[in-house]
Symmetry: C2
Subunit: 345 residues, 2 copies
C-alpha cells in the first residue's frame, strides 16, 4: 500500500491497530510516553497498512512549532543570493525543516510585508538578507520570532547576525589592487544612501589613505547593485575625465556589467584597468576575463545561521563574523591558478 497523505488520519490508524489515538502519537513522535514493543509494532503495521502520514498543519497548531523558516532576500536572481538560498535549503531540508522564499524585489515596503506574512504564518525563524542594513525587526520582536540577519546587525538589536566585515573586505581588495602597482584606484559603489555601500566605500578609502592617496569623491562611481548599474558606471568611467587604472567593484553583478562596458570601449582588462569585485560566485570563474573577487563562505554562513536559529538557548543579539577570502583570477592582473570545478554548477 502506498502513501495516503491527506486521507488517513490518526483515528484510522488507531482503529486498525486496536489502540488509542494517543498511542499512535507516542509511536510517531517517539514520545513523550513510552510504548511497549508489541503495541509499537501493531501501530507501525497499521501505519504501513493505511499509508498514514501525520498532518503537518494540525501538528503545528497543537505543538506551536511549524518547522518552517522564512528566507528574505532582495532578489533571488542575484547569483550570490541564489547560492545562499541553495545552501540554506539543503541544510534545512536534511533536518526536516522547510524554507519559505521571500523575494522583496529590492523593495523595502515589500520586504516588510513579507516579514509580516511570515510571522502570521508562524515561521519558527527568519533569515534575512536585507535590501539594506537598517532592517526593521520590531514586528518580529513583538511576535517573538527569532531572526538571523546576514549583515552586521544594528547594535543593541536582539537579532543574531552572521556576516563578514565588509569594510575589511573592501580594504583588502583595494589594497590588493594597490599592490599591483596601480595608483588611481576607483570604486563602483552601490547606492550611496545604503549603509552597506558606505561600508565598502570606507574600506576602499582606508586603503587609499594608508597609501597616501587621496580618496577623491570623483573616484566614486555610484550605481545600482546590478549588471545594468555596473555597465552604466563603466560607461561613465570610460567616457569621463577621471583616469583610473584600477577599480574595486561593490558586487559581482556590477563587475559583469563593467566588463561589458570595457569590451564596448576597447578597455583592456587587466592591462588598462584592473578589477576586483565583492561577493564573487561561480560566475566570476567563468566570465571573460575571469574576475578576482572577495568571496563569502556561503556554506559556513548557511550553517551558522541555522545553528543560531535552532539553538534552544535564549535568543540574544549574538553575532558571528566569518572570514572572507580574496580569490585571485585574471581581472586584477594576478598570475593565478585556474579554478578546479570540483563543485559542479
Amino acid at each position: 500500500m502506498g502513501l495516503n497523505i491527506g486521507k488517513v488520519t490518526r483515528r484510522e490508524v488507531a482503529l486498525a491497530a486496536g489502540t488509542s489515538e494517543a498511542v499512535v502519537s507516542y509511536v510517531v513522535n517517539n514520545g513523550p510516553r513510552p510504548v511497549s514493543a508489541s503495541t509499537r509494532q501493531k501501530v507501525l503495521d497499521a501505519i504501513a497498512e493505511t499509508g498514514y502520514r501525520p498532518n503537518t498543519i494540525a501538528r503545528s497548531l497543537a505543538a506551536g512549532s511549524t518547522k518552517t523558516y522564512g528566507l528574505i532576500v532582495p532578489n533571488i536572481r542575484n547569483p550570490f543570493l541564489a547560492a545562499l538560498a541553495h545552501a540554506l535549503q539543503q541544510e534545512m531540508f536534511s533536518t526536516g525543516r522547510v524554507l519559505l522564499l521571500g523575494d522583496s524585489n529590492d523593495n523595502k515596503e515589500r520586504e516588510r510585508e513579507i516579514l509580516r506574512t511570515f510571522i502570521e504564518r508562524r515561521v519558527d525563524g527568519i533569515i534575512w538578507y536585507g535590501v539594506d542594513r537598517d532592517v526593521d525587526m520590531r514586528d518580529a520582536h513583538a511576535a517573538g520570532v527569532p531572526i538571523v540577519v546576514l549583515d552586521k546587525a544594528p547594535s543593541g538589536s536582539e537579532a543574531a547576525s552572521v556576516f563578514i566585515n565588509e569594510t575589511e573586505a573592501a580594504f583588502a581588495a583595494t589594497k590588493h589592487l594597490l599592490e599591483h602597482g596601480r595608483n588611481s584606484v576607483g570604486i563602483i559603489s552601490g547606492p550611496r544612501k545604503n549603509l552597506n555601500s558606505q561600508d565598502r566605500i570606507d574600506g576602499w578609502r582606508q586603503a587609499l589613505t594608508l597609501n597616501k592617496i587621496a580618496a577623491s569623491d570623483r573616484l566614486i562611481f555610484e550605481a545600482g547593485y546590478t549588471r545594468g548599474g555596473g555597465y552604466a558606471a563603466g560607461k561613465a568611467m570610460f567616457s569621463g575625465a577621471v583616469q583610473t587604472d584600477a577599480v574595486f567593484v561593490s558586487n559581482e553583478l556590477q563587475a559583469l556589467g563593467l566588463l561589458a562596458a570595457a569590451t564596448e570601449f576597447g578597455v583592456r582588462i587587466p592591462e588598462d584597468l584592473a578589477i576586483v569585485c565583492f561577493n564573487g560566485t561561480i560566475n566570476s570563474a567563468f566570465s571573460n576575463p575571469t574576475l578576482s573577487a572577495i568571496e563569502q563562505p556561503i556554506e559556513t554562513i548557511a550553517k551558522s545561521s541555522i545553528n543560531l536559529l535552532l539553538r534552544s538557548a535564549p535568543f540574544a543579539g549574538e553575532s558571528i563574523e566569518c572570514d572572507f577570502r580574496l580569490r585571485r583570477r585574471a581581472s586584477c592582473g594576478c598570475d593565478y591558478e585556474r579554478d578546479t570545478f570540483d563543485r559542479d554548477e
Copy 2:
C-alpha cells in the same frame, strides 16, 4: 498600537469588541454571514486596538487550505530557475500566497522526498520543474494535490503542464546556425539518458537532416547541464578530431563553460565557432561575447502556471504551450541590436 502577531487571539478581540468570536471571523473574512455596520466598526476598532492578526495555521487547519504552494526545481543556482522562482514568488505573494522552495540539488531521490514533504504540509499546489521529464506524480495524485509540470507532461498524466516545444526550439536554433552558412553544426547535449536531452538532440538532428547533412553521433558532445560540463565538452571538442564550425548548446550554463574553454584554446567566437544556446537569461546578454539564445517567456510561464493552479475547475491534464524566442546576439555571428537593459538585473 503596533502588531501583536502571535499573542492576541480572536477571543481577545471579541472581548474588546463586546461581540462573539464568530462575528470577529465574519468581519475578518468578510463573510460568510453579514455583519451590521455598527458591529463591524466595533470589531475593526478592537482589531486595531489589540493588534490582532489571525493565526494562519489555525485557519489552514479549519479551512483545509494553506495558500501555500511548493516549487520544485533541480537547482536554484541555475539562473534560469532563479528567474522563474523570482517571477513565481512575485506573482504568488501579490495574491496573498506563499512559496516553499524545494531545491533537489539535481537528485531524483531528493526530489521525491521534497514532493512528499510538501504534500504532508498540505500545500495547495505544486509547480514542478523536474530533474528530468519522467516526474513521478503518483503521490501527489493520491493526495489530490494539483501539479503543474513545467515541461511536456507525460501523456495521459493528470498533471497540467506549461512548456515550450524544446524540439522546435532546438530546431530553430540549429537552423539559424545553418543559415549563417555553417556546415558542421555540432551539439552539446545534456546527459543522454535524460528525456529533455533527447528532445533537444531531436530538434538539432531534424534541422541537419532537412539540410541533407548527416547528424553524426560524433557531432554530439554529451555533458552535464553545468558550466563545468560545457567547459569539459568544449575541451573535448577543441582537442578532438571532429571539426565543427558551429554548435547548438543545450543550456546557458554549458555555453558559459564553452566560452571559457574557447578562450583557453584560442578559438574565436563566432569566427571559428558560432554558438546558439538554449534557455538564455540576462547572463547571455552580459557574457563576452554575448550569447545568442533561445529564450523562454518566464513571466508568461509563471502566470500561466499560477492560473492553472488557482482555477477552481476540475484539474485535468491540460497543457499550455508557450512561444519561445530566438534572441540574436554576437555568438552566432549576427549583426545584432544591443540589449536595452530596461529590466535591471
